[in-house]
């Protein structure tokens, strides 16, 4: 298990967003976390990345995450591609990618890899990132995360706000990364795509775990289909 949490909690003042979650991601696994808005998915990742305070147990590569700053977590290969992309709008595409290797990773080989994966980005190397389309910015955000040579890549709603064509591209990219054996933990509102992509999935509601299982099984599960797939 590259990541394991036990009774993981994230609270904002009195409001508990994540109420005691125990999940795991294996060394060679793609895990999805789905659920409605407000289910606590983003808070989960934010807590794991060290962006917000969390309590409870969380072990990454065998060591506890408690007390580690977000910078330290990136240094150890726990990388988050955040919700809303959060790229640096006034910097160029290439500068954005270079910053991905700020704490960890080698720029040269990293850029090669990213350019191979996202030829469209390579073309727009010098363009100001703020002018890219939504889909291109998402590619950039994923690329930037890859520059940190992640040993566990977490993605928060990578398909949010994208046209269907771009959504497909995002999941194709994730599949390609999966094929490179990078462990992935992806949070998604697009349940259908996420469940089809992931090896295993967790379903959250109101900050707690409601169901878990192999992606394919959940995809076929009637209760899941009616609640999250609108079928």
């Amino acid at each position: 298990m590259v990541l394991e949490t036990s009774d993981f909690r994230v609270s904002y003042g009195r409001i508990a967003a994540v109420k005691g979650l125990s999940i795991a991601v294996g060394e060679d696994e793609a895990v999805a976390v789905i659920g409605a808005n407000g289910a606590g998915k983003t808070s989960l990742l934010a807590g794991l990345a060290g962006l917000v305070d969390a309590s409870g147990g969380a072990t990454y590569k065998g060591a506890s995450l408690a007390g580690l700053s977000s910078a330290e977590r990136v240094k150890r290969g726990l990388v988050l591609c955040p919700e809303g992309r959060r790229i640096f709008p006034e910097l160029s595409v290439e500068e954005n990618l270079r910053l991905g290797a700020f704490r960890r990773g080698r720029v040269g080989p990293g850029l090669e890899r990213v350019n191979a994966l996202f030829p469209r980005l390579a073309e727009r190397r010098r363009q100001t990132a703020g002018y890219l389309s939504g889909g291109e910015q998402q590619m950039l955000a994923i690329g930037r995360a890859l520059m940190s040579e992640p040993e566990l890549l977490m993605l928060d709603e990578p398909s949010l706000g994208l046209a269907p064509v771009m959504v497909d591209l995002v999941f194709e990219t994730l599949a390609a990364l999966r094929a490179q054996h990078i462990p992935i933990l992806v949070v998604e509102q697009n349940a259908a795509k996420a469940l089809a992509f992931a090896d295993r999935a967790y379903i959250l509601a109101n900050g707690s775990l409601v169901k878990e299982g192999p992606g394919r099984e959940l995809l076929a599960d009637d209760s899941v289909r009616s609640a999250y797939l609108g079928i």
């Binding site: 962006l51 990136v74 988050l80 709008p89 700020f102 704490r103």
Partner: protein
């Protein structure tokens, strides 16, 4: 006074405004806090430098000590106060820095008393005197740029270039740029936002101390020595949109020149209308401030502002 002379007077003055604006923009652009205590923070650094000077008689040491003290004050303010202030409304953050403004003024009075203190010129340079040919200068009045003004211009240029280089060529500079553009993005690439913020604060106040030592010979070291300059600094920063350091410096210089030209014009106006007892100096600041209000009304985020920032 000729227009050229006015411009030559306005440039170094504007450089001061620009440096103040740079410090303010640095802190605001990076951390999102408008430091109303900037001037007084620098002032404390100058007082400290004065004490070190009185104690060691060494000007270089005193300046260095003052800058270090200022940097420490900036970092301290960030670490101790600003971290707690993160979740507050704009009004709240403003009030905290205003509280510091008041407290620092009182502190200076308590420690160093009410008597203005003397501070020496950093360097003594001969003035630049330059007489234009009679075809453009019939009265034969020479153009003069004071030695101290030359120094100010040179220093301002050096500092601006240093900052430009810092942001363009160093990793930390890049980190600062990134953090000012997107805090979450900066965190997820492993930038220590806390450290970067402290750096911005420390440098911002340090620049202000430098500024203080430049004006101290003229204004003397008093608790209120940088209050008016801070006002000008805000106006310079408004021009730059608070996120462009380059804009702040350029804005400041433009402001300085505009101010002197406006003064010239007003003096001529008063002379022509025989308005007695009216000194354009009284109006200088008001003219500038009205320009600021107008600028903010027309382009609320400043003239050189970035298109992408949702700041404020």
């Amino acid at each position: 006074m000729s227009i050229l002379q006015a411009i030559l007077l306005g440039l170094p003055q504007g450089a001061l405004y620009g440096l103040m604006g740079l410090g303010l923009s640095l802190i605001f652009g990076t951390t999102g806090v408008m430091n109303f205590a900037q001037g007084n923070s620098g002032m404390l650094g100058v007082f400290f430098a004065w004490s070190v000077l009185a104690w060691t008689k060494s000007l270089p040491l005193a300046i260095a000590a003052g800058i270090a003290a200022g940097a420490l004050l900036g970092v301290g303010t960030d670490r101790i106060l600003m971290k707690k202030v993160k979740g507050l409304t704009h009004g709240g953050m403003l009030i905290v820095t205003l509280g510091l403004l008041m407290a620092y003024e009182g502190l200076a009075l308590i420690v160093w008393g009410t008597e203005p203190l003397l501070f020496p010129d950093l360097v003594t340079l001969p003035p630049l005197i330059w007489t234009l040919p009679p075809s453009v200068n019939p009265d034969g009045i020479p153009l003069i740029v004071a030695g101290s003004d030359l120094f100010i211009l040179a220093l301002a240029l050096v500092i601006s270039l240093l900052f430009a280089a810092f942001f363009k060529f160093t990793k930390i500079g890049l980190a600062l740029k990134a953090r000012s553009q997107d805090e979450v993005g900066a965190r997820v690439v492993g930038i220590s936002v806390g450290a970067v913020d402290s750096l911005a604060w420390g440098s911002g106040v340090a620049i202000c101390v430098v500024l203080g030592t430049l004006v101290a010979p003229k204004t003397m070291v008093t608790p209120g020595m940088l209050t008016t300059l801070q006002l000008y600094g805000f106006t310079a920063a408004v021009f730059g949109g608070f996120s462009s350091l380059f804009g702040a410096v350029v804005g400041g210089v433009i402001l300085g020149v505009l101010e002197k030209l406006a003064s010239l014009g007003l003096d001529a106006l008063f002379a022509a209308t025989h308005a007695a007892n009216v000194n354009s100096a009284d109006f200088q600041l008001s003219v500038i401030l009205i320009v600021i209000i107008a600028t903010l009304a027309i382009r609320p985020t400043g003239i050189f502002a970035s298109r992408f920032k949702g700041k404020v």
